[in-house]
């Protein structure tokens, strides 16, 4: 599997670290326990299109949002995550 890094071009999956479901957002610090439970533990885990984060550790070290099909491994898009978004 090769991931099309927006900075480096197509690179082997072995250069990247998987960071999981990109649709999960971190709750506010004062959010209740249910919100944290949902963000930390609960996942949709779909078979099919999946939006996910990959960290290009063995390359430009950017965090990338990848659109990938979990049933076929086909990748349909990859974009840089803005620094603001990544820190959330």
């Amino acid at each position: 599997m090769r991931i099309p890094c927006p900075v480096c071009g197509p690179r082997s999956v072995s250069e990247f670290t998987y960071e999981g479901d990109a649709t999960v957002t971190r709750p506010a610090l004062d959010a209740d326990a249910d919100a944290w439970f949902a963000a930390v533990y609960q996942r949709a885990n779909p078979r099919g299109p999946h939006s996910e984060l990959w960290h290009h550790m063995g390359g430009c070290r950017s965090i990338i949002r990848v659109e990938r099909d979990t049933g076929t491994h086909a990748i349909t898009g990859a974009s840089l995550v803005s620094p603001h978004e990544a820190s959330e």
Binding site: M1, S12, V13, S14, Y18, G20, D21, A33, D34, F37, A38, V40, Y41, Q42, R43, A44, N45, P46, R47, H50, E52, R68, T70, G71, T72, H73
Partner: protein
């Protein structure tokens, strides 16, 4: 027919023409007392123990493909109970005890081989941790022994024990009662034994929906029509999230990941135990046909594809060669992938759900095969009594909300690390 020496002789003399089928090709009936979704090892074992231990024989097992087409036929066949946390230790030890008598219990030779499972240690700290684990196991009544290098050299002649090894081996821990089991025979044995007790095993029957009477489950919709049931148990491993979504559970503490496994060309006897690497992740044993059976880490990203990628193949092969340099020119015969239901703390879920009559068995991570008998046994108890057995009480679905996690590895809520 009961399998025995006399039935074998009679059928041999008869040219093997009159063996009866091992289980019926059942057609779905309109209603059952209980339905188990998933005709893999855990589902078949659950149906067997429902009938055997709880007298519930009006039971159907629904399998979307053919029997045992998932992880029960895709694993590296290792059994062991070398856990440290109390919630895990007693459950897996019960599983190992069930393995020890399984062939007689099912009247089917599962080829249970207690050849020992050895974990290698590569640092003094790791050896200390193994001593602690071994003591915890022995206090819980499980067998464990520490091995020094001389003993490892005697038991595993091919292992690189030199100081020049990439990660020099300092010692190890062995669970002598661990070993391997013929995985297909486990599925066939449970299927045949459950069928003999009256359980309907229905293949090519995919569940497409659940029906409810209020909150209480009333049955399932399938590709072969609607089937009513008072209780429904779901044991579908990697497909857990997709199946439970049909019942209204949009999110679960599970990610599905692909785990690859490998078989080499056949060798003469080379390894008569199971060995695991301690400085990476590899577990290896030799099958009765002579092939080396081994596996390593999951690929590490969400996948339902039942096939993995080459970096992990290379990593696993390199690890095998670091342990056994003499394997460097060995050829692989096959590799394949299975879909693991990786839970958020690395431990499984066997529990009721918020919907009465609906039960969940999931989150087995790498460890589903060795758990097969106890998983079925505990899930059957949970379904029949509508409450968990003390052995699976810690495997609750709401532990992620309450914080009573069972994180054997201490990796936190990162499924790819368990």
């Amino acid at each position: 027919m009961r399998y025995s020496l006399s039935s074998l002789i009679a059928n041999t003399l008869n040219g093997h023409k009159s063996w009866p089928v091992a289980w019926r090709k059942a057609e779905p009936r309109p209603a059952y007392d209980a339905i188990i979704v998933g005709g893999g090892g855990h589902g078949l074992a659950t149906a067997y123990y429902l009938a055997k231990e709880h007298g519930l024989t009006n039971v159907a097992v629904l399998e979307k493909g053919w029997l045992a087409s998932g992880n029960i036929g895709r694993n590296t066949t290792i059994i062991r109970s070398n856990y440290m946390l109390p919630g895990n230790t007693h459950f897996y030890e019960w599983s190992l005890k069930l393995w020890e008598t399984l062939s007689r219990e099912l009247n089917f030779n599962a080829m249970v081989s207690q050849r020992g499972v050895i974990n290698l240690a590569h640092t003094p700290a790791q050896l200390d941790a193994y001593a602690r684990r071994g003591n915890a196991m022995r206090l819980a009544g499980v067998d464990a022994e520490l091995l020094d290098r001389a003993e490892l050299a005697r038991r595993v002649p091919g292992l690189d024990l030199s100081d020049g090894a990439r990660f020099p081996v300092l010692g190890g821990i062995c669970q002598p009662r661990g070993g391997t089991v013929r995985h297909d025979a486990v599925a066939w044995g449970y299927a045949r034994a459950a069928d003999r007790l009256g359980v309907d095993i229905i293949e090519n029957c995919a569940v497409t929906g659940f029906t409810f009477d209020g909150d209480r489950v009333s049955g399932v919709e399938t590709t072969r029509g609607a089937i009513a049931a008072k209780k429904v148990g779901v044991a579908v491993a990697g497909s857990t999230s997709e199946v439970m979504r049909l019942a209204g559970f949009d999110r679960l503490p599970i990610e599905s990941h692909v785990l690859q496994a490998f078989v080499s060309e056949g060798l003469k006897p080379f390894l008569d135990t199971v060995v695991t690497f301690g400085a990476g992740h590899l577990y290896i044993s030799q099958s009765d046909k002579g092939g080396l059976v081994f596996g390593g880490d999951i690929d590490g990203y969400n996948s339902y594809a039942q096939r993995g990628n080459l970096p992990v193949v290379e990593d696993v092969a390199a690890t095998a060669c670091a342990m056994f340099p003499s394997l460097s020119r060995l050829r692989l015969l096959r590799s394949w992938g299975g879909i693991m239901d990786m839970s958020m703390d690395g431990s499984p879920i066997i529990d009721r759900t918020p919907k009465p009559g609906l039960y969940l068995n999931a989150g087995w991570c790498y460890g589903g095969f060795k758990a097969t008998p106890a998983s079925g046994w505990c899930f059957a108890h949970t379904i029949a009594k509508d409450e968990p057995h003390p052995l699976n009480a810690a495997f609750s679905l709401d532990r992620f909300r309450t914080g009573a996690l069972l994180d054997e590895r201490g990796a936190g809520a990162t499924p790819r690390l368990h």
